[in-house]
Amino acid sequence: MLRAQGRAVHQCDSGWVPVFVDQEQSISLMSVGFLLESPDEAVVWRGPKKNALIKQFVSDVAWGQLDYLVVDTPPGTSDEHMAAVEALRPYGPLGALVVTTPQAVSVGDVRRELTFCRKTGLQVVGVVENMSGFVCPHCTECTNVFSQGGGAELARLAGVPFLGSVPLDPELTRSLEEGRDFIRDFPQSPAFPALSSIAQKVLSEAPARLS
């Protein structure tokens, strides 16, 4: 999604060098994707092996000075999540951004994720509702394709801030797949102000919530 497919990971004295995805070198990335020979290769590992790699990603990558480390996780409350929390906790502050879609089935699963956060002492910065409505490009009617209300409901249940809803935008998907800079190419997209506003809230509220 960040136009970094096929890049190689190099070693330096202080560890693995993360891959920079922009010219300004403001965003660096590490992923098991960089370690696979082919994008179709399946990583058929049980928990312990996954845990070991996650530990390495935290301790053996030469991240350098970072303002924010964003950790994208798979769905669930299992090995990867526990490994990430354990590996990152010594480096605090550590918080969680919880993503849901609007429908009740999604909320049903994500509330368990919030329990995971509570049990592991992970402070929740807020809830984001993704795929929140689709505006028909032909007639501009907005349809709630995946129901509605889930994000706000989840935030209310958990007593955490609701950071906002991001609408469905096929151009966002297309940009991520075609390696385009979404923000540069589609500033008019309804997803852009939503994403911007959420990012702003995280920047302004996270430090206080996580201290």
């Binding site: 049980r46 049903g108 368990r112 028909c136 349809t143 394709v145 998907t173 797949e177």
Partner: protein, 271 residues
């Protein structure tokens, strides 16, 4: 497992592609014939959404002399999920691999499924503990195959290719691929849009390249999500919709793969 005729694994590379929705409706569709016994097993230990989708939230599992009893939606449709073992909708199952494997083993061994024509196993996304364990335990009793769910975009297909490689690695036959959220028809102007653009040709091109059957494409119908939220069968709620028809065609192809034959009525031949 000896009393289970056909076993189908429902897989996806990615989360959020509609795997559980599909598993639930495959179960509903097969069970519409009251002579077919269907069982739905949810092995997504951390995110057990099957109870909600099947309208069984809050139900509990009972133990008997012959093992755990599945929860029945209809007389011929039984369901098992870790969700039934949790006392609150907020309970999180924070287990590492070995404990999840243990639970899956119990589900497959200790549940008294009875005589079942189809056992559908809904999995979490990925290619890890749950999938290895399920394949390990089910293969011993002949697994018919796997149905892989995707959405049209390349990011999803990339994960499906990994899933297909997983199936090859562990020698699970692939029944085929289902492309979900294929096209969206605006309820107001009825024009089509592609919410998840098939930038590399969607599942159709991928299946052609990999010589794997495309079982069908299901359009994005907002009613599907609503039915799931209400715990109802979308096939019953909107039987004439394009999505319901797509589901039925796919279910038929799966039945054909499993070599399902409708019991022929014996006609009394007059002398």
């Amino acid at each position: 497992m000896k009393t289970v005729k056909h076993k189908i694994l429902v897989l996806s590379g990615k989360g959020g592609v509609g795997k559980s929705t599909f598993s639930a409706h495959l179960a509903h569709g097969l069970a519409e014939d009251e002579n077919t016994q269907v069982a739905l097993l949810d092995i997504d230990i951390c995110g057990p959404s099957i109870p909600k989708i099947m309208g069984l939230e809050g139900e509990q599992v009972h133990q008997s002399g012959s093992g755990w009893s599945p929860v029945f939606v209809e007389d011929n449709l039984g369901v098992m999920s870790v969700g039934f073992l949790l006392s609150s909708p907020d309970d999180a199952v924070i287990w590492r691999g070995p404990k999840k494997n243990g639970m899956i083993k119990q589900f497959l061994r200790d549940v008294d499924w009875g005589e079942v024509d189809y056992l559908i196993v809904d999995t979490p996304p990925g290619t890890s503990d749950e999938h290895l364990s399920a394949v390990q335990y089910l293969s011993a009793a002949r697994l018919d195959g796997a149905v892989i769910i995707t959405t049209p975009q390349e990011v999803s297909l990339q994960d499906v290719r990994k899933e297909i490689n997983f199936c090859h690695k562990v020698k699970v036959p692939i029944i085929g691929v289902v492309e979900n959220m294929s096209v969206f028809v605006c309820p107001k102007c009825k024009k089509e849009s592609q919410i998840f653009p098939p930038t590399t040709g969607g599942a159709e091109v991928m299946c052609q390249d990999l010589k794997i059957p495309l079982l069908g494409k299901v359009p994005l119908d907002p009613h599907i999500g609503k039915s799931c939220d209400k715990g109802q069968s979308f096939l019953m709620d909107a039987p004439a919709s394009a999505a319901a028809l797509a589901y039925r065609r796919i279910i038929q192809r799966i039945q054909e793969f499993c070599g399902h034959h409708q019991p022929k009525e014996e006609h009394l031949v007059g002398s």
